[in-house]
Subunit: 309 residues, 2 copies
Amino acid sequence: MERIGWIGTGVMGASMAGRLIDAGYALTVFNRTRGRAQTLLGRGAAWADSPADAAEGADVVATIVGYPRDVEEVILGQAGVLAARKPPRILIDFTTSSPELARRIAREAASRREAASGGRGEKNDGVAALDAPVSGGDIGARNGTLSIMVGGDAAALDSIRPILAHLGQKVTHLGPPGSGQHTKMVNQILIATMMIGVCEGLLYAHRAGLDPLRVIEAVGSGAAGSWSINNLGPRIVKRDFAPGFYVEHFLKDMGIALAEARRMNLALPGLALAEQLYRAVEAHGHGRSGTQALTLALERLSAANEPGG
Amino acid sequence: MERIGWIGTGVMGASMAGRLIDAGYALTVFNRTRGRAQTLLGRGAAWADSPADAAEGADVVATIVGYPRDVEEVILGQAGVLAARKPPRILIDFTTSSPELARRIAREAASRREAASGGRGEKNDGVAALDAPVSGGDIGARNGTLSIMVGGDAAALDSIRPILAHLGQKVTHLGPPGSGQHTKMVNQILIATMMIGVCEGLLYAHRAGLDPLRVIEAVGSGAAGSWSINNLGPRIVKRDFAPGFYVEHFLKDMGIALAEARRMNLALPGLALAEQLYRAVEAHGHGRSGTQALTLALERLSAANEPGG
């Protein structure tokens, strides 16, 4: 069984890595905060002091960290994956990150030669880097039911499908490097604008004196139906803002999508509105609430309280 | 079997009335344009020269017309349903119309006495008016799989459930008069904002060089999933703007929702943005295209052409 280097043991990463341990893979893990890797170490994973060390001699390295700058550091940094003496054959980044960075990583990974083999004329294709953001949340990570959106070399992807099968039900190859991230951006654009509708619809229902749960029941299975209204709608009604997905992470994603759209000369007024409203949610102290907390910004817009009132 | 007065034989109304004829009900129909009722007349429906005539002696009268002003005319007008000498026991309006008008109709209907019985001291509760907008489109109307959102007297609704069972799979009572219309407004708020996301997401996918159908396949069954992306998304990709639901009718509905929100002192920025974008679609000559034509307005925003350029 291949040895896998695993970098990033947050909520998502820890669940995903745990599933691979259960499946019999030998994992070497690195995480910025070692304490968060403790459970995995207790289940047999080896510890590495840097991303480069975790990558050393591993066939496949997986990363799932926070922000694009973290991705950049753990892969391209001084002690990053590509700095390993013997780098992996395949590098797969599950972080939702920038398509542009994904393309840069793929280029630099492809040109990476094993330092030890230099001059001996061995065939060396470099490292195949895949961008593979996921959707499905913590539950999907625990149950291995994630949807995985992959950009990069199709043959490299095919060669690790047996590993990915333990993590996700749906693994889709979307195209060259960056395509996985771009697809995740589409995913987030859909959710962002949809959430405005969910919150506005339920706010309207409340003001109109309707029973919002009955309304969700009446409209949720037809043309107005969506995962969001059926799953997050009831939480909004019950004032349950516990995070399935953090507002601050969603803001990161929307920021990436808006930056990419700007580069493509593309106006996305719905996404821009959503980003502004979510920024208000964060400003009100709800960055670590779930995305359904969007309703708080919309409610405030029409609240009776006035500045100085 | 009860005699039913049926007013309005457009695409939706004709299919719904046809199902009741098939189920054995005796229908008397009125439509502004008689030609559009011809098929129903050929199948045994009787013709009436006015809404009042269609209502005369009927136990139940159903209306499904175009705009709130049409609802007002066929129910409250000089030759309207409530002007019948012997008005029906129950009046059900399937039109998507104004909640405020629905409440006014319910009040006026309740106070309507049979002219003939005046002074004879007979028990007379007036006419029970139900507002019952539907969703599910022309296909739902043909197949009897509509979702019907009902406001008004619950006992009156229960007494006609056997009739409604031929038209819809899901009949939900939402509360007092106007509640059906309010619920339909929630339905339309959800769809309007969701459609912005669908169009922006697919536009982003196209610009990013992705295969949009593969993207829909990758994201459509997860947290970004919705009826809209899965059903209208592929039509957008194929440039199929044939109407499932007309832009101009959707604009009517959004106008009602925005007017009600204004009355409730409620700011709905997502709905307002959608309404403005759909107004642009109509301005470009696509009022009789399907709602998925929203993409044309968003594409134009980022098109290379400049005024005078």
